[in-house]
């Protein structure tokens, strides 16, 4: 292999690993998948993962030459679709010995596939949060209020995401929007504390919370703690947004 081709392969493997790490996959799977991809291209891989970057050391099995690559982990939206498709790709690569060009084409195709329609997600999230309200013992009227509050909050979040506003601010504002709208339930004689409490739950970062615990249990303590810390900061932001509403209305809640 010439140096040029080697460089292309190295960059590709590093990009693959960073993408997996960025879109919310627990660390041990990222390492296994990347090793498999490396294996299919004739490399022996060692990987160190940190919070915002990862270091890959690859040894070419033919020439015994060793290369290192440091990549930054991008902040991508969580995608389970990428998780399963890219995992399947790593098996396909190693089982069928996919040539590099085919592998790269398939990878590009997977990561550029469109996500679920945002408006559809908006609707689903509204229903989800309304059912949550029901699970916590809210009545039908509260469910309707939570449904509309969630839609408004989530819509605000989507708009702010498009404008690339700092994500802490996004979480504070959308949590405030949703809980303030849910506090209209105080006008009626219904389960308004449940309505206000559930209206912000769509913002709880459940995926990093669970991934963080998985990472810690599997021994990737560093990335696990960093995921939990990030999730914790976002929860604090949700709490701040909610607090502003509570400070405005708490006299009527008691």
């Amino acid at each position: 292999m010439t140096n040029d081709i080697l460089l292309q392969h190295t960059k590709f493997i590093a990009g693959y690993a960073a993408h997996l790490m960025g879109c919310g996959i627990h660390t041990s799977r990222v390492i296994r998948n990347t090793r498999r991809i490396g294996e299919s291209l004739g490399f022996d891989l060692q990987i160190s993962v940190f919070q915002k970057s990862m270091i890959l050391t690859m040894q070419d099995k033919d020439t015994q030459k060793t290369f290192s690559e440091v990549v930054e982990i991008p902040a991508l939206p969580i995608s389970f679709e990428h998780n399963s498709e890219l995992s399947a790709l790593s098996w396909e690569a190693v089982d069928q010995r996919l040539p590099f060009e085919v592998l790269k084409d398939k990878y590009t195709k997977i990561i550029s596939a469109p996500r679920i329609d945002p408006l559809f997600v908006l609707l689903l999230v509204g229903f989800a949060n309304a059912s949550f309200c029901k699970l916590f013992g809210g009545d039908w009227m509260s469910m309707v209020i939570v449904f509309s509050a969630t839609i408004a909050g989530f819509f605000a979040r989507m708009q702010m995401l498009k404008k690339h506003i700092n994500h802490y601010i996004i979480f504070i504002v959308s949590s405030f929007t949703a809980s303030l709208l849910a506090s209209t339930s105080l006008i009626f004689d219904i389960t308004s504390d449940i309505a206000i409490a559930t209206s912000v739950l769509y913002l709880i970062p459940g995926v990093p919370l669970i991934n963080g615990v998985i990472d810690i249990v599997e021994g990737h303590t560093l990335t696990g703690i960093s995921r939990l810390t990030n999730a914790f900061l976002l929860i604090v932001c949700v709490a701040i947004g909610l607090s502003i509403t509570l400070l405005l209305v708490h006299d009527r809640l008691l």
Binding site: H26, S90, E92, I214, L246
Partner: protein, 165 residues
């Protein structure tokens, strides 16, 4: 009859919640039916354990998470999805949001009632008990669903493989 209806409605709403919260994280379309199924089974199971078997929320969550974990191991292979793609969205409705909310609420009330000793003590107690439940339950949910991955690791690691099945 009423009991059956309660259990079914609990499972039904948990399934809707799992689909909606899962949709934010963009799961593959083929995974939705299993996410909904496992979320319904898991949440209804926790509901039964807590309401009829008198179990506490932490132990009940752990057992339900175990069931979801084993379910995702079994169903994941059918649709070539990693376990986490199915079980994380299915666990989301079980995250104790009400306790998390009460933790924040009591924190604010604590700070507002610093000058009233009885209220201060009440909200301090409320803060710690709710916070403890929130943290324990989230931790047990993740562990419970991950245990099947440790037990059957070679199967769990090759769910997305298309040959040899």
């Amino acid at each position: 009859m009423n009991i059956v209806l309660d259990i079914l409605s609990d499972g039904f709403f948990a399934a809707i919640a799992a689909i909606g919260f899962g949709a934010i994280s963009d799961p593959p379309m083929r995974a939705f039916k299993f996410i909904a199924l496992l979320a319904a089974i898991g949440h209804a199971c926790r509901f039964c354990l807590m309401s009829y078997a008198g179990m506490d929320i932490a132990a009940a969550s752990f057992i339900s998470a175990l069931i979801i974990g084993f379910g995702s191991l079994w169903l994941g292979g059918k649709i070539y999805c990693p376990m986490t793609v199915i079980y994380i969205p299915a666990l989301l409705p079980m995250i104790p949001g009400k306790f998390a909310y009460n933790t924040v609420f009591s924190q604010i009330m604590f700070l507002q009632n610093m000058k009233v000793p009885e209220l201060k003590a009440k909200y301090m107690e409320m803060f710690f008990s709710n916070g403890m439940v929130t943290i324990t339950v989230i931790f047990l949910l993740a562990i419970g669903a991950t245990i099947p991955m440790f037990i059957f690791h070679s199967k769990a690691f090759s769910l997305t493989r298309h040959i040899n099945k």
